[in-house]
Symmetry: C2
Subunit: 190 residues, 2 copies
């Protein structure tokens, strides 16, 4: 039972890495076999198919996101500083972003094309950030409509920077744009 959960986690972590680094559709069951060192049968025992694995990954990622946002809320009393911290997240991940793009954006984008069920599965990850951003702008006394617009706009800015960083493999651009974006946040909302 305990051992089973450990195996499950191992599968989720390795599959998560592969889905991120290769894409969901480009990752086969046997890629996961190789990465985990487990047998195909064992993986099937824990997850019937790729969709189930994805479901496990999303669950695990949602927990991570919640933990992260809770930590930020504690660490930064000021909503402005929270928004700034949000932007700085991209700097922490710059090597990965350059190579593989946004872990949420590329996954949801891939599945959104023509795998509606899987797309729906991944959407909550985006919603978590959206909701959290909305909360910060609400704390900054924006109307709910305006807070929502600001939240989506900031998400959009960050996604755009990520796409260009990924496509052009350009972390100089990333650093410059994030620094500009942070200033803009301070000037516009503070």
């Amino acid at each position: 039972m305990k051992q089973g959960n450990k195996t499950k986690l191992r599968i989720i972590n390795e599959a998560n890495k592969l889905f991120y680094q290769q894409g969901f559709n480009a990752t086969s069951f046997s890629n996961i076999v190789d990465a985990t060192g487990l047998s195909k049968g064992n993986i099937t025992y824990h997850f019937k198919n790729k969709q189930e694995i994805l479901s496990g990954i999303v669950e695990s990622r949602l927990a991570d996101i919640d933990e992260l946002l809770t930590a930020w809320n504690k660490e930064f009393p000021s909503p402005i500083n929270r928004l700034v911290r949000f932007c700085e997240m991209l700097l922490d991940e710059q090597d990965n972003l350059k190579q593989y793009g946004c872990p949420m954006g590329t996954l949801t984008g891939e599945l959104s094309k023509n795998q509606p069920a899987l797309y729906q599965l991944t959407l909550p990850m985006f919603k978590r950030f959206q909701t959290w951003l909305l909360e910060q702008f609400t704390l900054l006394n924006f109307s709910s409509e305006q807070a929502n617009e600001n939240a989506l706009e900031l998400l959009s800015r960050v996604q755009g920077i990520t796409v260009i960083t990924h496509v052009f493999k350009d972390e100089k651009f990333l650093n410059k744009e994030i620094s500009k974006l942070k200033n803009e946040i301070k000037n516009r909302y503070d």
Copy 2:
């Protein structure tokens, strides 16, 4: 010979649609067979493999992009109006963007993950827009460095809006953000 070219075009067009709507890796040879109504053997006669088809698609798209940009250059003498027209392109394509994302961004992003050769193949599409934007900002008397920064930033903004439109299936967001972006261009650069 003439018939052969017509067939080639048909394959390119159908495969282009499929790669866009399903993704490159999720599209199989037989998907293309079904979409074109041609036999597998015939397609193989014209293109050895998927990579060759992709190569043909990129060539065709580059021609389209060049034609589009040349037309804009003729239609709009003012660089500002050209930049505005560039933004409005997203409105023309809003249904597709909502369903499938950016035809360049999603393709290059998918291939950039771990298919470097194919990624390199698609990069020139992005570069065409980047270069053209750079030219417009140069005409607006920005230094080459500043023009380059502005060009990439605008590309980034547009990509971000596209990603959010795609992920949240939200064309209201698209319309609002494009209208804001157009105003920003006029205020900042004019």
